[in-house]
Symmetry: C2
Subunit: 353 residues, 2 copies
């Protein structure tokens, strides 16, 4: 428990003074004030996080946490559980969407086995940090013990800090885990205070029959386990997942080190909700990427008070939307650093109204 | 007139058969069917345009058309007209947002003086194709003659074809021209059949007083010139602009050569509306980039029946949103080309429902 507690204590407010100075520079650049919208917001937010008025281009890492879910026994997913380790191999072999997109944006892909239900071989780029062989079926009891939830968060903190020590300054997160929209739906239902029916979606693409099973399973798990919203670790252990806990740990670890984190879709959003429930200052360290097709994602982003930049009807997960967004974040920092001011370029400013 | 007519005749339907084969490949890749949303749509659309099931990564050009507007005499803009040539110098010197973003995405920036109201020096990267020293004040008569409108369109066709001959396979468009949201508003008001008040915006950021002047000026210009919606060249010449005509020409020229065009915000949207009114098949050659802060942009995209991928509250123009989108288009083509299929990766497919 010590690592988690000390990490949370190290999360400080972002620097408002630096952000004001960054805004002044943005307003002096050769464009109408505010006309680059979210690009300006991103540059300013990163300035506040990093304590630098003109933060340079960060080295990027995309961390992908893989874990399995006991609740798949209930028949909540369209894919068999064996797909989780198969996809881990695919990430490493370069054939997955996430492999292609991280290469495209120049982000190092780091894959963590935090809870895959089978043994994976030793492989380069694979960090073996298994906390358990998947969670237990949350319809029959808590998904994991409180100790396991804390351990998984601490794995995330450790992976993030290791990454940062190696020079990464921007972390995007993602996941792989057959069945993981089910615990994510339970989490947002609890924190948004909305019925499961309102925030549930089709995940990888279940039909009406499975969707009904999924809704019933989530409601049963909440009813049975009675997770306590005021205690995010309790929620995480009872109706969460190992990769969700791991991603919450990455967010906490990065924030404690003043490194911005880009979240992806519905599952990483659930991790961000848990991290923010642990420490509300976390919101200021998060950047949204895309709006997922999962209906509950909007409720998550509202809870986190952050707006997505990409509307692309994506629902793949892995961290694909977050990886794609990092190139827009790079572009935003280049705008701040490389554009000329009105004075430098000899361009006339707006007519005094 | 001959170039314009023959170009329009060369615009053929996109290849539906190729698109189906591309969809088959997309469905065989290691992801749930359809889960990459708009990325899949983009890859498929480009396949249909280029007649290739797996189109390779295109070389990119961003063409920026600069022109001035006589209607600024009415006081419709927050910036003085001298900003148009000043910004052209800024593009060439690398200090503008568009300079930074085209460099970021690896797109060649091509700047065309199609109607700047002053003389610009000889400079590398500047294509001097001036049709007139700005348009006339559309509140006092047509913005230009029909011959000038056609000439400006043909400049666009020529620049696009030149670009394509040099190997470019993806063209994004943008513009610079103080006052150019005013003619663009007139155009969308006419084609969407909506009152000016509903589709007008603040452009570079005018106050309430100037906004009122702008609305009155647009209504007066429409009233006075009586543009004929069924004749897009008539609309363009009476209430359009030289850079709008030039961009419409780029769209026509690229489509005739089966090269996709990425549109930017409100002004390039107006050009796309004109091009589509000339030949409705054009819609299938266009890719939207972002949703602009200008209220009328949504009406344009609805008219064009294309959806933006970026929601970033941008309203700068220049082609900034379009340039940014080209890296997402590259990513979409890489998904199609580089991902493994379920069979190749040994990943199990969805459980038969």
């Amino acid at each position: 428990m010590k690592i988690l507690e000390s990490t949370v204590e190290r999360i400080l407010p972002v620097n408002g003074e630096v952000m004001e100075k960054t805004q002044e520079r943005l307003d002096s650049l050769t464009k109408p004030v505010g006309s680059l919208g979210v690009m300006e917001y991103i540059a300013k937010k990163i300035a506040g996080i990093t304590n630098e008025v003109k933060p340079g281009l960060p080295e990027k890492a995309s961390i992908l946490m893989a874990g399995d879910h006991g609740v798949v026994q209930e028949g909540v997913s369209a894919y068999p559980q064996e797909v989780t380790p198969q996809m881990v191999m695919n990430f490493i072999n370069g054939g997955a969407a996430m492999s292609v997109l991280t290469k495209h944006v120049g982000s190092e892909l780091i894959i963590v086995d935090i809870g895959v239900a089978s043994d994976l071989p030793e492989m380069p780029f694979l960090h073996k940090k298994k906390v358990a062989y998947g969670t237990s079926n949350m319809c029959k009891g808590p998904a994991m013990t409180r100790e396991q939830a804390v351990e998984a968060i601490e794995v995330g903190i450790e992976v993030a800090e290791d990454c940062i020590k190696k020079g990464k300054g921007l972390i995007s997160i993602g996941e792989m885990g057959i069945g993981n929209t089910t615990p994510s739906t339970a989490i947002i239902s609890l924190y948004a205070g909305k019925p499961v029916e309102e925030v549930v979606g089709r995940g990888t693409g279940v039909d009406d029959g499975r969707l009904k099973i999924k809704i019933e399973a989530i409601n049963r798990a909440i009813e049975l386990n009675q997770p306590e919203v005021k205690d995010p670790i309790d929620v995480l252990s009872k109706v969460g997942g190992l990769e969700i806990a791991g991603m919450a740990g990455i967010i906490l670890g990065a924030s404690a080190n003043r490194v911005p984190v880009v979240i992806d879709g519905f599952i990483s959003g659930a991790a961000a909700v848990i991290a923010t429930a642990i420490n509300p200052e976390i919101k200021n360290y998060l950047l949204a990427s895309h709006l997922s097709e999962e209906p509950g994602h909007k409720a998550m982003l509202d809870y986190l008070d952050i707006s997505p930049m990409l509307y692309m009807n994506m629902r793949l997960g892995e961290g694909t939307g977050a990886a794609l967004a990092t190139t827009i974040i790079d572009a935003s920092l280049k705008i701040l650093n490389e554009m000329s001011t009105f004075a430098e370029a000899g361009v006339s400013e707006a007519i005094e109204e």
